[in-house]
Subunit: 353 residues, 2 copies
C-alpha cells in the first residue's frame, strides 16, 4: 500500500531539466517517510512527434491508466504547432482521465519579489479552481470558405450542467475544507451570451447548498484588474477552462512566481490517475542551458504527494522550498536574481529535506 | 463644418453623474476653439427598460445614425440581467455602426498611484486595440435538454477573415502612425482549437505587409502576467473581443486608473458614428452619491474630439486632466484618495482649461 506507480513525462524543453530535480526530491522524501515510488519513464514529446509523427503511441492513454499519478514537465516546442502538440498529449490526458479540476495555489512566498507594491509574504494566499475538461477548449467548430475572402471559423464552447456543477461544487467544498468559506466566480455574462449566463445560473444553484460560504462573482475583465488591485480579498476563485487558465497565470504573475507555481490536474473521484505539472511551459528560449527554475516542478511533486495521501512528506517538501527561498545564503536561479543552475537550486532544496 | 451633432446617452448608475461633467468640459473647449456641439439627449437605460420593456425604441439605431458621434455613460443595472441590458443597447450600437475598433489607452499618469512597485509616470504607455464586433461575443449557440441533468449550452465564437484582418491592420497602422513600430498579438492557439490558430494565421499574413513593424505574440494567460511583470515592453496590443476586453481592464488595473480610463468604439471608415465611453461600468454600489470619478468620461470626450478632427481641443482637455491629477492642491474623488464630489473634480478640471 505504500508503493506508488508514477508515470513520468518530462516532455519538451526545460521539462527535461526540471523533472529530474522533482524526482530527486521525491526520492529523498520517500526514503524519509517510508514509502516507495516506482517510476515509469515516457519520452512523449515534440521530439518524438518529429521522429514518429505521434506525440505519444496510439495506446498511450492505456499505458498510463493503472499508474497512481502522472508527473509531467512541459509540452510544446517550436516546429510543432501548439494545437498539435498540446491536443495530442496534455489535453487528451486531462480529458481521458476526467481530470476536471485544475487546482493552482497563488501564494506570495518569502524571498520572492512581487511586482506589486507594498505586499508582504503570505498576504496573498488563495486557490484557483479551474474547470479542466470542457468549456472554451473544444474541438467542435471548423472553417468555411477556406482560402477565400469569405473565410471564417467557428469555435464552440460547450458547458454542460454536469461539468459546470461539479467544478463549482469542488470549489465550494474546498472553501469549506480550508475553512475559508468564501468563493469568487469568474464570469462574463454581460458579454458572452449563452455560456456565461448559464454558468451564473448554476453558480446560484450550487451556492444555495452552501449557505455558510460567501459567494460572490465578477466579470473576468474587472476580476483580472482586482487580482492586481486587491489580491488579498480572494480565497477560492472558480473559473471556466479559459478564465481559469488566464487567472492562474495572472495569479503567479502578481506573486512573482511564474517559474515557481505548480498545478494539479485532479480526478477527484480517483477513478483515474491525476496529473501534476508546473504552470510554466517548455520555455524554448532558455531550454538546454541548465538555468531553469525547478521549484514549479518540485512544488508540483508536493501536490502529488498530498494527493497520494502522503501529507507529511508533502509538507516537508513545502518547508524545504520556503526555507530555501527565505535563506540568506540561498542558491537560486536567474529568474529569482541568483546565478545558480537548475541542479544547484535542486541541491539547495534537497539539503533542507 | 464646425458644427457637430452628438448623441448623448448617460445610461445607468453613475453614467448619469459623469456624463454631465463631460458635457461641461466639451462646452468649455468648444467655445475656446470655435466649434459647436449640438447635443441630442436620450434616456435609454435599464430604467427605461423597466418602464417600457425596451432599452431603446425600436428605431433607436436610426435615431443615432446621422449624428457625428455617440457619447455614452454606462449601461447595466441590478434588476435587469446584463445580457439583456447590454445586448439591447451597447452591443447593438457597436455592431450596427460597425464600430469594429475598440481603442483604449493604458497610461501611467502622474498623481495616480499604481499598484505596481517602482513604476514612474509615463513608464507604462501603450494602446490596446480590441476587436469589437464579432469573435466570442456572439448570439449564435443555445441550450439543449433545458432543466434536466443532461442540460448543456453551446456558445459559438465567430472569426471572419474580414473581421480579423481589418482589426489587425488597424493595429499595425496605428503602430506606424504612432511611430512605435511594435505590435503584440494576444492569442491562445495552444488551447482554443479553431479560432486562435486562425487568428495567428491572419496575424502572420497581415504582419508580412508591415516589415518595419516588430510583430510578436503571446498566449493570453502569459500575456496577462506580463502586463503585471513588464508592462513597459508594450506599444500596441491587439486582441479579440474577449481578450481585448480582459486586457483593457487589466491595463487600467496596473496603472491604477480603472475610473479614469476612456474608450473609443470606432468605425474607421466613418460611414457611421463612432461611440465614446469610459471603461468603467455603471457602478451601482456608489451610484446616486455624487462621488464617482468623472475623468474616464472626460478623457472619452477628449478621444471624441480627436476623432472629430479637433485635435487641439482634445490636447487641451488632456492637459487639463493631467494638470489636475498632478496638482498639489487638486480636488479629487475618493477612489484617488480625495474627498471631492464628482462636480468638484469637474470644476477643478474646468478651471484648468
Ligand atoms: C459591459 C460589457 C458588455 C462591456 C464589454 O465586455 O464589452 C464592457 O466590459 C466593456 O469593456 O466595454
Ligand atoms: C499549454 C496550454 C494548453 C495549457 C492550457 O492552456 O491549459 C497551459 O497554459 C496550462 O495552463 O496548463
Amino acid at each position: 500500500d505504500n508503493v506508488y506507480t508514477i508515470s513520468v513525462i518530462p516532455g519538451d524543453g526545460i521539462g527535461n531539466e526540471v523533472v529530474p530535480q522533482g524526482l530527486r526530491v521525491l526520492d529523498a522524501v520517500s526514503a524519509l517517510y517510508g514509502f516507495k515510488l516506482n517510476y515509469r519513464h515516457y519520452d512523449w514529446s515534440c521530439e518524438r512527434y518529429k521522429a514518429t509523427g505521434k506525440m505519444m503511441p496510439d495506446d498511450g492513454i492505456s499505458q498510463l491508466r493503472d499508474s497512481d499519478a502522472v508527473f509531467l514537465g512541459a509540452v510544446g516546442f517550436p516546429g510543432v504547432p501548439d494545437h498539435i502538440s498540446l491536443w495530442n498529449l496534455l489535453i487528451p490526458i486531462r480529458r481521458e482521465f476526467d481530470q476536471y479540476v485544475n487546482l493552482r495555489p497563488v501564494r506570495l512566498l518569502p524571498g520572492v519579489p512581487s511586482p506589486l507594491a507594498n505586499k508582504q509574504a503570505h498576504e496573498i494566499d488563495f486557490w484557483i479552481v479551474r474547470e479542466n475538461t470542457e468549456g472554451e477548449y473544444s474541438q467542435v467548430g471548423g472553417r468555411m470558405f477556406a482560402g477565400t475572402e469569405h473565410e471564417f471559423v467557428t469555435q464552440e464552447a460547450i458547458f454542460t450542467r454536469r461539468g459546470t456543477d461539479r467544478i463549482l461544487r469542488y470549489a465550494f467544498d474546498l472553501a469549506v475544507r480550508l475553512e475559508r468559506n468564501h468563493v469568487t466566480s469568474a464570469t462574463k455574462s454581460n458579454g458572452i451570451f449563452h455560456s456565461m449566463p448559464f454558468w451564473d445560473e448554476r453558480y446560484a444553484v450550487v451556492a444555495a447548498d452552501y449557505p455558510q460560504v460567501r459567494a460572490d462573482q465578477y466579470h473576468i475583465d474587472i476580476l483580472a484588474a482586482r487580482f492586481v488591485m486587491s489580491p488579498e480579498r480572494f480565497d477560492v476563485v472558480v473559473g471556466s477552462n479559459l478564465f481559469g487558465d488566464i487567472l492562474s497565470d495572472l495569479g503567479p504573475g502578481i506573486t512573482g512566481t511564474i517559474a515557481v507555481a505548480p498545478s494539479a490536474n485532479i480526478n477527484p473521484e480517483r477513478k483515474h490517475p491525476s496529473m501534476f505539472e508546473p504552470v510554466h511551459g517548455s520555455a524554448p528560449d532558455i531550454a538546454g542551458q541548465g538555468i531553469a527554475n525547478p521549484i514549479g516542478q518540485i512544488w508540483s511533486a508536493a501536490m502529488m504527494l498530498d494527493h497520494l495521501g502522503q501529507a507529511d512528506a508533502a509538507a516537508c517538501v513545502m518547508r524545504a522550498i520556503e526555507q530555501t527561498l527565505a535563506a540568506p545564503d540561498r542558491r537560486v536561479t536567474k529568474d529569482l536574481g541568483g546565478s545558480a543552475s537548475t541542479a544547484e537550486l535542486g541541491d539547495d532544496i534537497l539539503s533542507r529535506i
